[in-house]
């Protein structure tokens, strides 16, 4: 069996995880509060903050999918389903029952975990190319449900969700701008998810995932309960994506069937692929790149007065070139024997 090498605390520039966390926490707090302590024009425009929040959301989604596409090496093009389920659960609970936002996150997680089980059952029976289609179709089915069920608001979705409160303070009032609170919240969540992934990677479960990824039959022969671990990975990844969905719903104050779009699923998948499968910092990088680059090219489009968005074409090109030049992703490890 191949020797399993797990990259330990190699975070940015060889710093340990704790130092990286502290530095990024200081940076985030600076971004959130700097405009509160000096008068005059804001240093950090609201637009930048919006992008930062989206980056963090994307990183959370990528960290979620990493359990399936990274650790287990399966391709899923359906993780937007869990993102959407989280968002819709929160939206429905907030609108119709007036439940607390924080509780609705957990209900959303529970929903996603339950709905992940059929998908996990599918991943036990088929894999590779067939699983791709099943996950894709799984997500599409939810999109049609969201469009067609009147309670869920149809094509327009549901709007006007109230911002959540932390100890009686609106999250939008926490920092200098209305985005700051979400930034802190998401930063904490991404940190927890990253820490969790890192711990799982080095645990018994992580080694089991690696064994299944390298050779499923050999893993089973060695007494690893493949069914259990595959289901576990799917459930964890669904839960993480669902949290991102719930927060997206509150942040955008609305949900729409577009959350379930296959474009979103493919975007999440490409974050994992571009960042580098199994690499935690790769997920954060991948998520940020796939958020910032579209914005950059969108402004290029506006400046050059193009009638189309050049990003979508470049995005395809990026995937093709990536597979040619560095198939393991920016921060991924090279796989010796794939396929």
């Amino acid at each position: 069996m191949k020797k399993l090498r797990i990259n330990s605390g190699e975070w940015l520039f060889g710093l340990s995880g704790r130092v990286t966390f502290l530095i990024s926490a200081i940076l985030i707090l600076f971004v959130c509060f700097v405009d509160k302590f000096h008068g005059g024009k804001a240093w950090i425009p609201s637009y930048t903050q919006h992008i930062l929040v989206t980056c963090l959301l994307s990183a959370l989604l990528a960290l979620g999918l990493n359990f399936i596409s990274g650790y287990l090496g399966q391709t899923s093009l359906g993780h937007a389903a869990f993102y959407g389920i989280g968002a819709y659960t929160t939206a429905v609970l907030l609108t119709y029952t007036g439940l607390n936002f924080w509780l609705s996150i957990f209900v959303g997680m529970l929903m996603s975990m339950l709905l992940a089980i059929p998908l996990a059952a599918a991943s036990l029976r088929v894999k590779g190319q067939f699983l791709v289609v099943i996950t894709y179709a799984f997500c599409e089915i939810f999109r049609y449900i969201a469009i067609n069920v009147p309670v869920l608001g149809g094509t327009g979705g549901m709007a006007g969700l109230k911002a959540p409160e932390v100890f009686g303070v609106r999250i939008t009032k926490l920092a200098a701008t209305n985005k700051g609170g979400y930034m802190i919240l998401l930063f904490l969540l991404v940190s927890v998810a990253a820490f969790f992934s890192w711990r799982v990677q080095r645990s018994r479960v992580g080694y089991a995932f690696a064994a299944i990824r390298e050779d499923e039959i050999a893993a089973e022969a060695m007494g690893i309960n493949v069914k259990y671990y595959k289901t576990l990975a799917m459930v964890i990844s669904a839960a993480i994506c669902s949290i991102a969905g719930s927060i997206q719903a509150a942040f955008a104050t609305m949900v729409s069937p577009e959350l379930f779009s296959s474009t979103k699923s493919i975007q999440i998948f490409s974050m994992v692929v571009i960042g580098g499968r199994m690499s935690i910092k790769g997920m954060i990088l991948g998520g940020s790149l796939m958020t910032i680059l579209p914005e950059v090219f969108h402004s290029v489009k506006d400046m050059a007065g193009l009638s189309f968005d050049p990003w979508n074409i470049l995005y395809g090109l990026l995937l093709v070139v990536m597979m040619r030049v560095r198939p393991q992703g920016i921060w991924g490890r090279k796989e010796k024997d794939e396929g």
Binding site: Q129, F130, V133, I134, I266, F269, N312, M323
Partner: protein, 298 residues
């Protein structure tokens, strides 16, 4: 009962189109072993070629269909040459093929929407649309649109031609053999690269033909390839990967199922039903309806 029969007839043409797309998927998958995600885009481009030659060159039905199939061939072969061949040569196609396909399909789709704009376009009227009475049940007539009939005949002719090509020609037999064991076939002195190109050409021609037929029925737009491609793949799975007859059956079944859903349940769930069926079949019988004939894999 009357509505039920009528819905089945209505679903046939759409089913035929799905079958054509499905065969394009399944031939490439059988021989190259990669989900050619660009197939939906070839279908869309085929529809656009058909639109341009009928609108601006005023070609009649059959020449326009042939031109569009030829264009589909060229595009599919180019996709292989540019996208998959370099990876195949390095022996990494299995690991990287799918993501490359995803990237190529994104490039094609959005280049098309940049070039042709996202507004839907409709073909000019190539044949007169009328309702032909097939037979009567009591005092109500079961009808079929002349467009649907033309599409069904076209699909049938293409299928028969393909079946004859596979069974009667040496190249066709080589393709059947390649789907079993490409490596051994190479050792037998077959030009594997040429065989792969022929496979892509056939797949492209079928995809473009499907696109042309859909253009006869509905307006076309640059992003229609995504959903249609996925449905084609669903049909291929439904019928059993590698089986031409299976793809035909899978396509027709999906077409009828969609038509019945639209008629009896709700038009909104029409597209979802196909996916639900596909998931169900894959879970119950991963080899598909006719997948047991593994030696007939193409």
């Amino acid at each position: 009962m009357f509505v039920f029969l009528q819905q089945i007839i209505n679903g046939l043409a759409q089913g035929g189109i799905y079958s054509l797309i499905a065969i394009g998927w399944t031939t490439v998958f059988g021989i190259v072993g990669v989900i050619n995600w660009t197939h939906g885009e070839v279908y869309m481009l085929g529809a656009y070629v058909g639109y341009f030659v009928t609108t601006f060159l005023h070609l009649p039905l059959i020449p326009a269909l042939l031109v569009s199939m030829l264009a589909g061939m060229v595009i599919a072969v180019l996709v292989d040459e540019v996208g998959y061949r370099p990876l195949r040569k390095r022996g990494v196609l299995a690991a990287t093929g799918f993501i490359t396909a995803l990237g190529l399909s994104t490039i094609l789709r959005y280049s098309a929407s940049a070039a042709f704009t996202v507004n839907p376009r409709a073909y000019p009227e190539l044949i007169e649309q009328e309702l032909l009475t097939l037979f009567r049940v009591g005092d109500s007539a079961i009808t079929i649109s002349s467009l649907h009939l033309i599409i069904l005949i076209g699909t049938f002719v293409i299928m028969v031609a393909l079946e004859l090509f596979m069974k009667r020609t040496l190249t066709g037999k080589a393709m059947l053999a390649a789907s079993q064991d490409m490596q051994t076939l190479g050792l037998m002195g077959v030009n594997a690269e040429l065989l792969i190109k022929i496979t892509f050409a056939i797949s492209g021609a079928l995809g473009a033909a499907a696109g042309f037929f859909i253009g006869l029925l509905y307006a076309i737009d640059p992003i229609m390839g995504a959903l249609a491609g996925l449905k084609g793949w669903s049909c291929a799975i439904l019928g059993g990967i590698g089986s031409i007859a299976g793809s035909l059956v899978g396509g027709i079944l999906l077409g009828i199922a969609e038509s019945l859903t639209a008629g009896f349940i709700s038009t909104g769930y029409k597209d979802a039903i196909g996916f639900a069926i596909m998931i169900f079949i894959l879970l119950i019988k991963p080899s598909g309806l006719m997948g047991y004939k593994f030696e007939e894999k193409v």
